[in-house]
Symmetry: C2
Subunit: 351 residues, 2 copies
């Protein structure tokens, strides 16, 4: 039909599947195995449902307030969205409008090229080194913007802050985005650089470390100017993105810092233990500072292991893509879940 | 700074203010004066907060299921979003990519030109007739798409379905969007036309008639093809837009049809009673089929009335814009609230 001529046709991002099988071990979308802070449950029960008839706060003040206090950053330097994907998509639309290509690693979060295609942003992927690390020199060329996750996904590799700063310093004329979805699991944040570099945006999410994938909360911190531009674009799309439950329950999650840190250290301990098991079973992997491990077996195909795990109702992530086809990305669950994975791998590998 | 050269600069939509004063009468953003259905409160208390650690259903199945049943439309003909603004913004991005201008009324929802500017869509506004009605002939010219609300906002005027169909029939080569945010308050829906016209999209919201502005739920119904294109674009922006509370509480609201219809008829009764009072007080207004009235006083300036009402903590909407500067848009609240407005108007007008 003729009306289809002017439809924006895209190849959408494919999210990890969301199976719903009792007894499954779901380690394919980097969710947190622990529930949100106990206070969230209490607050949910007390939620004033009558208030749902009214529009929520358009600036998501309850949420921005606690983030401002927690990170010690002025409120007008914080932007929140419906998951970090919403924040990132808005940042692509707002900041990447150059004729020059934006730059990001060849192996990275697979939404970057999807947003670039959707918004018709020219882009160039920069190959990671053989050890999956970034070569800062690759980002010292003319470009329309820079984005990379730290730790990177799906490799889990954390880049030292000196290298991050080297890339920021080399790119004063474009916006640089550091996507820190996984930084709470042992990386160091580039947040303090946002005081110094007006063109730096640091993006975070509640979906991983804060056990709140189901609420859809992401945020970013940057200079007052960057955040103003982002808000202008946001208010040109949707005045009210954060609903009441996400504003009040999200705020509550931030307030319980003890629970947050306990959860993080449990996951980190499980990860380190699981690394040893993987090594014992013949896997190699970059040294992950995230809540997942990107592992390849020395002799057995990733595809085979992936399918065998599925048969045992253990879901991990696998991509049929250049360079990473022989890798599995395994989310860190509870100790019990990882024990099941180890047992399953022993059976699959016959050891 | 040089990085600012490539920032998308926009003039954002300005939403109605959200004052929070005890004892205020808030009639400026067309919210519903009645709370969501009682079942929603019960369900909120039972919500399984543990599940928030997981990503929500990416297709928002719980919500789409009940909408499919309620409207008797296949699930793959329904798209949901974070309020109808999210749905409309996504539709603009997906469907309005022609070099020819899209068409919409000169007096209408003031987000349309904002989205057009943001996405760099050429547009032309079509003047409404003096009685605020649409002349269908105006839409029989080459264009890149058509959108109008029915009932229109802020006039409240409902266009008969024959005229709506006339416009659809005249535009088979572009996407036609009928924005039915207010149709539940006494208009007739163009929904059944979506069976017949593959290029017609009908957009709805939970924010007005369903008392759920605070949850951010909108949806649209169209042909399978239109919805597929919309979903492809959506999955290129954000895999998970509808959080768990909005999916389960939104679904519950649809299930209680008796409460829904009771609420609607209360608002309609209040509106009709308020119309008589407005006429008595010397106002003129199009015959609203929505939950607001667009009124102008025969002798007293709208601006003056607006400011005097504010002093009495009564908030209505007023725009300093061509053609509508002498009008107030007054949301229909409870009978008690409208009595307060009438009393305040009597004082302001000295009658």
């Amino acid at each position: 039909m003729k009306w289809e001529d002017n439809v924006r046709k895209v190849i959408p991002y494919v999210a990890g599947e969301q199976p719903d099988i009792s007894d499954m071990v779901k380690l394919n979308t980097n969710e947190n195995p622990y529930p949100p802070a106990p206070g969230v449950t209490d607050l949910a029960k007390e939620m004033d449902v009558e208030k749902l008839r009214l529009y929520p706060d358009t600036n998501a003040e309850p949420l921005v307030d606690v983030l401002s206090e927690y990170y010690g950053v002025a409120k007008n330097r914080i932007f929140v969205g419906v998951g970090s994907d919403d924040v990132l998509a808005m940042a692509f639309l707002t900041f990447f409008n150059s004729d020059k290509p934006i730059l990001f690693p060849d192996v990275t979060y697979s939404f970057y090229d999807v947003w670039a295609n959707l918004y018709r942003i020219p882009y160039k992927t920069v190959p990671l080194k053989d050890d999956w690390s970034i070569d800062a020199d690759d980002y010292k060329v003319p470009n329309g913007g820079v984005i990379f996750p730290n730790p990177n996904a799906p490799t889990g590799l954390f880049e030292p802050l000196e290298k991050v700063e080297e890339i920021i310093k080399a790119n004063p004329d474009v916006v640089v985005i550091v996507d820190e979805a996984y930084v709470d699991f042992g990386g160091e944040s580039a947040l303090s650089f946002t005081d110094k570099y007006e063109n730096l945006l640091v993006v975070r999410t509640f979906s991983k470390s804060r056990s709140m994938a189901g609420l859809r909360i992401g945020f970013c911190i940057g200079s007052e100017k960057l955040i103003k531009y982002l808000n202008d674009a946001k208010y040109s799309v949707n005045s009210y993105t954060m609903n009441l439950p996400s504003q009040i329950l999200g705020a509550e999650a931030v307030k319980d810092d003890r629970y947050f840190k306990e959860t993080l250290s449990k996951i980190i301990n499980t990860r380190e233990r699981f690394k040893k098991e993987l090594t014992r079973l013949g896997f190699t992997f970059p040294d992950s500072k995230s809540n997942f491990i990107f592992a390849s077996h020395k002799t057995v195909d990733a595809d085979h292991i992936y399918n065998e795990l599925r048969k045992k109702n253990i879901f991990v992530r696998h991509w049929n893509k250049d360079r990473i086809a022989n890798y599995l990305r395994i989310t860190i669950g509870t100790d019990e879940e990882m024990d099941k994975v180890v047992k399953a791998l022993e059976e699959i590998l016959g050891c």
